[in-house]
C-alpha cells in the first residue's frame, strides 16, 4: 500500500502500523475506510482514504 497525505497524519498512521508497503486487510469501504491492521481495526475518515492506495497482495 502507499500513503500520500500530510505529515502529521502520515506519522500517526505509521505508528499504528499503516505504512508504505505494509500488509493490511480492507474490511469496509462504504463510508470512510476500515482496515484490518495486524488484527486490530482502524477506522479512517473520508479525507485520509483518498491518500491511501491499497494494492492486492500476492496470495
Amino acid at each position: 500500500m502507499g500513503i500520500h497525505c500530510a505529515e502529521p497524519d502520515a506519522q500517526r498512521l505509521r505508528s499504528l502500523g499503516v505504512f508504505e508497503g505494509a500488509q493490511v486487510g480492507v474490511v469496509d469501504i462504504r463510508s470512510g475506510m476500515v482496515l484490518d491492521v495486524r488484527g486490530s481495526r482502524l477506522a479512517l475518515g473520508w479525507d485520509v482514504v483518498g491518500a491511501i492506495t491499497v494494492r492486492l497482495a500476492r496470495p
Binding site: C5, P8, D9, Q11, R12, L13, R14, S15, L16, G17, F19, G21, A22, V27, D28, R30, S31, G32, V34, D36, V37, R38, G39, S40, R41, L42, A43, L44, G45, W46, D47, V48
Partner: protein
C-alpha cells in the same frame, strides 16, 4: 540540627528506601485504568472517566512493607507524541513534568489480544533503558480466541519480565506486584537494541513480527468475524445513525422507568425523616432549619441520585463496550461540515454526564482550533446536573401520558431538552469554526476496539465513584447553601408572627427583598421572585435550583410536606389567585437551563484547558457570556412566543 530534625531525616531516608514509584503506560484501550484500579484497590486520588485518562492519576498500595505509588498515564500509540494527552505520558516517564517525581519502574500494559500493535509502543519504551515490566493484559480474551502465547519465549525476545494478567478479573495481580517490587534489581533492558525513530517503522514492525512469530500461535486467523458482521450495520452511514438514535432513546426511557421507584423510595425516607423531626422537636428555629433547610433543601436533591447514577452507568456501558468509537466514526461525516471531526464526538457524549471530564477528554484532539471549539460547546450538552431541574419541572408540569404506545410524554420532553442542547452545540461549533477558530479539519484516524462485555466490577466502581461525588456535593456545598437560604428566608421575622401568612413572611424576609430586587430581570421571562432567587443561587451549581425551591417552599412549614412538584403545581398568586407556574413557564425555564453555563467547575476547567491565566480567563468569559445570552434569549422567545400563541402565561 536538633535531635528531632535528625530523627525526622532518618525516618524519611528509611521511608525512601521502602517506597517505589510505578508508571503505568500503554496503548489506549489496553485496560490500563482497570489494572490501575485493581492494583491500588480502587482508591484513586484523582477521578478518571472510563476510557479517558487524560491527566495522570495517582494511587498507592503496600507490598511487603514497601509503599508502592502507581501513576496511571494517558494511553499512547507512540513516543513521538502528538496530542496533549500523549505528551503528558511521556513527560511523566522522562521526569520532565514539573512537580511530578520520575518513575522508578515502568509497567507497559500490553493487550494480549492485539499484540503486534501494542508491542510497537512497548518496544519504544524498552529503548529508554529504564526498569520495565510488561503486563500482558486481557489473557482471557487471548485464550478465548485460541491464541497461545509462549510467555518464556516472549520474555526471551523482549529481554524484560512479562507477567500475564487479566485485570477485569483481578488475575495475575500478585505476580505483577512481585515483579514490580523486584524490577529495580533486575538487569535493565538493553537500549543498544534501539530500532531508530518513528520514521523507521518498517524495521520496528519487522522486529516485532519476528518476536511474535516465535512466541505466539494463533489457531483462528479470522477471529473478528462477529465484530465485523455487527459493524457492517453499525458503521453504515444511515443505519448506524438510526441505531445510535434508538440507543439514546432506550437509555432515556429506561432512566425514567428504572429510576422512578428508587427516587420514590428516597422521597419516602426524606418524608419520614421530616415526620420524625416534627415528633421529636417542639416548634422552633432548629426544627424549621432541619425540616426546611436540611430536608427541604438537601433532601429534594437527593431524590435525583438514582437517575444520575443510571446516566453514568449507561455512558460507561457505551464506552466500555467499544460502541463509542463506532459512534465517532459514523458521526465523522456528519460533523465534518461543522468543522469538527468524529473524535470531537466522544467528549460531546461524555458531556451528557458532566462537562468537566468531557472538557478534559478534548485533549485527545490534536489540533488546537478543533479542540478549543469543542471545549466552547461542550457545556451546551445537557449534563447530569441539569437532570434534577428537568425532572422536577417535568414531573410537575408535563402530564404522564403515553405517546405512540411506547414512550411517555415526560421522557420525550426530557429527550427534547437534550436534543435542543445537542443541536445548539453543533450549530455553535460550526459558528466558532467559521469565525474565531478557523483551521483545516484534521482527518479522523481512530481504532475500533473489539466489542466486549463490559466488566460489571469496573462499571460499578465508576458509578459508585460518581455517587460519592454527588453525595459529597450534597453534603457540603448544597447543605451549606441550603442552611444560608433557610436563614435568609426566615429572617427578619415579623413582630406578630401569628397574624402573618407564610407567603407574607417569606415576602418580607431578606430572601424576599433580594428576590424582589432580581424580579425585574426575570419578569420578561415570566418568572416570579422565587424562581429568580433560585436561579441566581444555582449559579453555584445547577442542583441548587431544586434545593433552593425546596427550602423556600418548606421554610415556613412545621411539617415537611411531601413532593415539591405537587406544591409548584398548586402554587397560586396571592393577589389574583391564578396559577403562578404554568407548563409554558416550565418549558421556558428548562430552555434557560439547557443553555446557561451555571457551573463553577466548568468555568475553572475551561480556564485551565484553554491556556490558563488571562488567556484562559478570556475564553471562559466568552463561553459564559455567549451561553448566558443564548439562554436568556431562548427563554424569552419561548415564553413570549407561547403567550402570542395563546398557550397561557400565569400570574
Amino acid at each position: 540540627m536538633t535531635s528531632g530534625g535528625a530523627e525526622r531525616a532518618t525516618r524519611e531516608s528509611e521511608r525512601a528506601t521502602r517506597s517505589l514509584r510505578v508508571a503505568l503506560v500503554g496503548n489506549p484501550n489496553s485496560g490500563k485504568s482497570t489494572l490501575f484500579n485493581v492494583l491500588t484497590g480502587m482508591k484513586q486520588r484523582v477521578a478518571n472517566f472510563p476510557g479517558v485518562t487524560v491527566e495522570h492519576a495517582e494511587g498507592a498500595y503496600v507490598y511487603e512493607d514497601a509503599r508502592i505509588t502507581v501513576l496511571d498515564l494517558p494511553g499512547s500509540y507512540s513516543v513521538s507524541a502528538q496530542s496533549p494527552d500523549e505528551a503528558v505520558a511521556l513527560d511523566v516517564i522522562l521526569g520532565r513534568k514539573p512537580g511530578v517525581l520520575p518513575a522508578d519502574v515502568i509497567v507497559v500494559v500490553v493487550d494480549a489480544a492485539n499484540l503486534e500493535r501494542n508491542l510497537f509502543f512497548a518496544s519504544q519504551i524498552l529503548e529508554l533503558g529504564l526498569p520495565t515490566v510488561i503486563a500482558l493484559n486481557r489473557m482471557d480474551k487471548a485464550d478465548a480466541e485460541d491464541t497461545r502465547i509462549d510467555v518464556p519465549e516472549l520474555i526471551h525476545g523482549l529481554g524484560v519480565v512479562v507477567i500475564p494478567v487479566t485485570a477485569t478479573r483481578a488475575r495475575g495481580i500478585d505476580r505483577l506486584r512481585h515483579a514490580i517490587s523486584s524490577a529495580t534489581s533486575l538487569p535493565l533492558p538493553d537500549p543498544r537494541a534501539a530500532l531508530g525513530d518513528d520514521s523507521d517503522v518498517e524495521r520496528r514492525y519487522a522486529w516485532i513480527d519476528s518476536v511474535v512469530e516465535r512466541s505466539v500461535v494463533r489457531r483462528q486467523r479470522d477471529r473478528r468475524s462477529v465484530t465485523d458482521r455487527v459493524d457492517a450495520v453499525l458503521l453504515h452511514s444511515v443505519w448506524g445513525l438510526c441505531v445510535f438514535i434508538v440507543v439514546l432513546l432506550v437509555v432515556f426511557q429506561s432512566m425514567f422507568t428504572i429510576a422512578r421507584p428508587l427516587a420514590d423510595g428516597i422521597q419516602w425516607l426524606v418524608t419520614q425523616a421530616g415526620a420524625f423531626t416534627v415528633n421529636v422537636l417542639p416548634a422552633g428555629d432548629l426544627r424549621s432549619l432541619l425540616t426546611g433547610g436540611v430536608l427541604g433543601g438537601v433532601g429534594s436533591v437527593l431524590v435525583f441520585l438514582p437517575q444520575i447514577a443510571l446516566l453514568f452507568f449507561f455512558i460507561g456501558l457505551l464506552e466500555d463496550s467499544g460502541y463509542m468509537a463506532r459512534a465517532a466514526f459514523v458521526m465523522d461525516r456528519y460533523m465534518r461540515p461543522l468543522g469538527l471531526q468524529g473524535r470531537s464526538f466522544i467528549p460531546l457524549v461524555s458531556g451528557y454526564a458532566c462537562a468537566v471530564p468531557a472538557i478534559m477528554a478534548t485533549r485527545t484532539i490534536q489540533q488546537r482550533e478543533e479542540r478549543f471549539a469543542t471545549i466552547m460547546v461542550v457545556p451546551l450538552i445537557s449534563c447530569s446536573a441539569r437532570l434534577p431541574v428537568y425532572t422536577l419541572l417535568i414531573a410537575a408540569f408535563v402530564p404522564a401520558v403515553t405517546v405512540g404506545g411506547i414512550f411517555g410524554l415526560q421522557s420525550l420532553t426530557m429527550l427534547g431538552m437534550y436534543a435542543l442542547g445537542t443541536v445548539a452545540a453543533f450549530v455553535s461549533a460550526a459558528i466558532f469554526r467559521r469565525t474565531l477558530l478557523r483551521s483545516d479539519t484534521r482527518a479522523l484516524i481512530i481504532e475500533l476496539p473489539r466489542y466486549s462485555m463490559p466488566s460489571f466490577r469496573v462499571l460499578a466502581a465508576s458509578v459508585w465513584q460518581r455517587i460519592r461525588i454527588f453525595l459529597r456535593l450534597a453534603g457540603t456545598v448544597i447543605f451549606a447553601i441550603s442552611l444560608l437560604l433557610w436563614a435568609l428566608a426566615r429572617y427578619p421575622q415579623p413582630d406578630a408572627p401569628a397574624n402573618v401568612t407564610h407567603e407574607q413572611q417569606l415576602s418580607q424576609s431578606a430572601l424576599g427583598h433580594i428576590g424582589h430586587a432580581i424580579e425585574p430581570i426575570v419578569r420578561p421571562l415570566g418568572y416570579d421572585w422565587k424562581l429568580g432567587v433560585s436561579m441566581v443561587a444555582s449559579f453555584a451549581a445547577r442542583e441548587v435550583f431544586v434545593s433552593t425551591m425546596g427550602t423556600i417552599y418548606s421554610a415556613g412549614d412545621d411539617v415537611h410536606a411531601p413532593g415539591l412538584a405537587e406544591r409548584l403545581r398548586a402554587e397560586r398568586s396571592a393577589k389574583s389567585g391564578a396559577l403562578v407556574y404554568t407548563p409554558l413557564i416550565a418549558v421556558g425555564l428548562m430552555t434557560f437551563y439547557v443553555f446557561a453555563l451555571m457551573c463553577t467547575s466548568t468555568i475553572a476547567i475551561t480556564v485551565r484547558e484553554t491556556g490558563g491565566g488571562l488567556r484562559g480567563g478570556a475564553w471562559a468569559a466568552l463561553q459564559f457570556v455567549y451561553m448566558f445570552v443564548l439562554a436568556y434569549a431562548a427563554a424569552f422567545v419561548v415564553y413570549r412566543g407561547g403567550l402570542l400563541l395563546g398557550l397561557g402565561g400565569g400570574a
